[in-house]
């Protein structure tokens, strides 16, 4: 029901109203939904990744974690999956592949948050659970690259047809580089793949296919790195590729470049939200995990306070205390009584497990 309202709101271009906006859909952001949900607070989550789970899902889904209370061993992806199952009764709404952009405080005291996808939210509480920051594409530090971004240089393929009958330069050695090489070969006029070494971390099958294409001359595969870009205005015309040892230089003519260097984490626009920062971390109190701006909280790896430990379990604890404070802001006229899920019929009803 809530989802439907949100869809309508988004379609109409109007603001999505909720109790809590959570920035970041990693494990701590997810558990914040649980703690808020027990108090009957509705949550909307924003994340720049195209999937739920933050670092756990993006960086090390298969890695085992041994310090989650009561979980002797659990992989990072299992942790995310279980958290999703745990918060299901609270119907969180996710807004993925978009980064928070602006934040302003409205006259009624609520916050208005906008995203890079053009969505806007209004809520009395904002919770920043952004970990080490938003995942954004790694940009190669090439002189003038910003002039070409969005016209000749893309970090993701949105419209495949853009590249029909064009000369395309793909850079990188992971699955994205390989997959797009294989995908664009049939339509591109000429395709050049550049990677720093002869081995790839992509799927073996794709690597084999790529090598086969290179052998029969269907693509050019160059070992090395792009060191210079050439072009006029915002249009790329070519690039210089140098071997890692620097002894070999190739000039590649191209209309487009697709650099695939994976993602990096950065604080991004949050840095300009006027919050007190310490070495790129948000300072909070340890009673409510509130930032220097009342109503804005920071939990998990993104915050700092005396004695802070960057552990998922610390983030869980911070989420629980934050939720108590969030309730008072979101429901100023209601009295909060502390109850346990073991004994409270009301909480069990919210969880959908009441007899």
């Amino acid at each position: 029901m809530t989802d439907e309202n949100d869809k309508n709101a988004a379609a109409a271009g109007s603001d999505i109203e909720t109790d809590v906006v959570i920035v970041g859909a990693g494990p701590v952001g997810l558990f914040a939904v649980f703690q808020c949900g027990l108090l009957n607070l509705r949550c909307q989550l924003i994340d720049n990744l195209d999937k739920i789970g933050g670092q756990c899902a993006e960086l090390y889904p298969e890695k085992p974690i041994y310090d989650i209370p009561s979980r002797v061993v659990i992989t990072a992806q299992e942790l995310v999956d279980d958290l999703m199952a745990q918060i299901k009764p609270f119907h969180p709404v996710f807004h993925l592949s978009q980064q928070c952009e602006t934040l302003e405080q409205l006259e009624d005291g609520r916050f208005r948050v906008t995203t890079t996808a053009g969505k806007a939210f209004k809520a009395p509480v904002v919770v920043i659970a952004a970990g080490s920051g938003a995942f954004v594409p790694r940009r190669p530090p090439l002189a003038g690259i910003e002039n070409y971004e969005g016209t000749s240089v893309f970090y993701a393929v949105r419209k495949r047809e853009t590249f029909r009958d064009k000369r395309v330069l793909i850079v990188g050695g992971g699955d994205s580089a390989l997959d797009w090489t294989l995908d664009l070969v049939p339509i591109a006029k000429r395709l050049t793949l550049v990677h720093r070494r002869d081995q790839f971390r992509g799927a073996p099958d794709s690597v084999e296919k790529m090598h086969a294409l290179a052998e029969k001359g269907a693509i050019d595969f160059l070992l090395g790195q792009v060191t210079e870009l050439r072009g006029t205005d915002d249009r790329l015309t070519g690039a210089t590729v140098k071997s890692i040892a620097g002894d070999e230089v190739h000039e590649v003519d191209c209309d487009f470049m697709l650099p695939f260097f994976g993602l990096k984490m950065e604080l991004g626009p949050i840095a300009s939200w006027g919050l007190n920062l310490e070495k790129n971390l948000i300072t909070v109190d340890t009673e409510k995990f509130e930032t220097s701006t009342p109503g804005i909280f920071a939990i998990g790896d993104i915050n700092t306070y005396p004695g802070k430990l960057k552990l998922i379990l610390s983030g869980f604890h911070e989420a629980a205390l934050m939720a108590q404070a969030a309730f008072k802001l979101a429901r100023p006229d209601e009295k909060l009584v502390f109850r346990y899920t073991t004994s409270s019929t009301e909480l069990q009803r919210r969880l959908g497990v009441a007899a």
Binding site: R138, P141, G174, R197, R201, I244, G262, K264, K310
Partner: protein, 103 residues
């Protein structure tokens, strides 16, 4: 005394006390130099990238596949590149020299 030499982004060399069994990334971070390590040493985020002095390179345990894969994501990966979270400090690395890669 156990120590390593680390050149920062400004070209200044620092002599850092080292602890056996610590990752070099942890040693650098402990001394307050900017070294990243966002993934907590999982060999994933590639933000603890360093260039190891060429003389020292052959004395290190070689890169494994996972580290190579992480280095693939770095534009400025060179032959002397290592992720400092993957170098475990031991007594035979006393005097190790390296330079922090651009952030």
């Amino acid at each position: 005394m156990a120590h390593i030499y680390v050149t920062d982004h400004h070209g200044t060399e620092h002599r850092l006390d080292a602890v056996e069994g610590w990752r070099v990334m942890e040693i650098i971070r402990e001394h307050g130099l900017p070294v990243g390590g966002g993934c907590g040493g999982a060999c994933e985020c590639a933000t603890c990238h360093v260039y190891v002095d060429a003389d020292w390179l052959p004395r290190l345990y070689p890169r494994h596949d996972e580290e190579e894969g992480a280095l693939d994501r770095l534009y400025d990966a060179a032959e002397t590149s290592r992720l400092s979270c993957q170098i475990l400090y031991s007594a035979d690395l006393a005097g190790l020299r390296l330079r922090l890669a651009p952030a």
